[in-house]
Amino acid sequence: MSASMSGNTASSSSSKKSLKAFSDDIWKNKTAKINAELFTLTYGSIVSQLCTDYERDFAKVNKQLYSMGYNIGVRLIEDFLARTALPRCDSLAKTSEVISKCAFKIFLNVTPQIGNWSSNKDSFSIFLDENPLSEFVELPMDAARELWYSNILCGVLKGALEMVQMDCDVYFASDVLKGDQTTELRVKLNKILKDEIPAGED
């Protein structure tokens, strides 16, 4: 059903529009939804427990969240591909667009901005104006320095991109929770993987 939209090589403005409409339709009509606050509280309880378990060693909490995200990402991509039937992206620009307009929209009902491209176009930033994970959150002083509260997102993106043969570095560059102006997620493409068994699934 998405063939007409993804198959043609229409001008970029119309394809942008159709990708948005396409995602809106999936979100509105083909998605089971739950209360965002429940999701926020569930994630908050997990982070809170991790901070206790690791005795507020936030570097370890970051790592655990990343790891957890990765395990989700490698499976969430299956659902995403099945749901959208989108073809392989032919450029990183296209990938970034699918991530913001499609993936974030369908899963979290937000559409972050893409920007801050590197000159050689191998890395970009995702600016999260809204972040359903961190609603209500106010970091205590000690956590504000080291904890990347939403680090699970990096893991999810890392895992998902790896499953479509893209080896990327994904990390937070800033977070409004830490007093920064923006919440910025950085994605850097290292290389396109050959069709091989992805790491971690051996």
Binding site: S48, F136, V137, E138
Partner: protein, 170 residues
Amino acid sequence: MPCYFAIIGALDNPIYEAEFTSPQFNQFPPELKELNPFILHASLDILEDLQWQTHPQSGAGTETSGGFLRSRHSSSNSNCYLGKIDHFYGLAITGYLSYGNMKFVMVHSSNSSNGTPVPIDDVAVKSFYQEVHELYVKTLMNPFYKLNEPITSPVFDKRVRLLAKKYLAK
């Protein structure tokens, strides 16, 4: 009028306290200032008694208007407000009880020192409590805040003071 406000936990432990005064003229007399926490704690017993009385407003189902939009601070917590629960010389004490047994209490003082009881503007005071209640629930949603622990967030403090200015500065 100067007020002293506190949130007391389910185990009678202090969660938050604040004094609302305006710098020009409304101050607590120093001898009263120190007594505030004691006056307030003395009224907790009364509050606890009230807690177990069936409230005339509850169950009547009369407060259905107001719609569902942002209904979080309309009818559901309207019977949490207990009004004036006690007085101490010229001071009045009002109370409010959350569902998790958090006690919100306030000592109201008048500007004059002639010993006449402070008049309480129930509508304004009730609104103040309800909005603080909402702020409290929002604070509770913060994963780093644990139930029954003191609230140290400067954001919460700032917002409560803004509400005090809005509703209590008269």
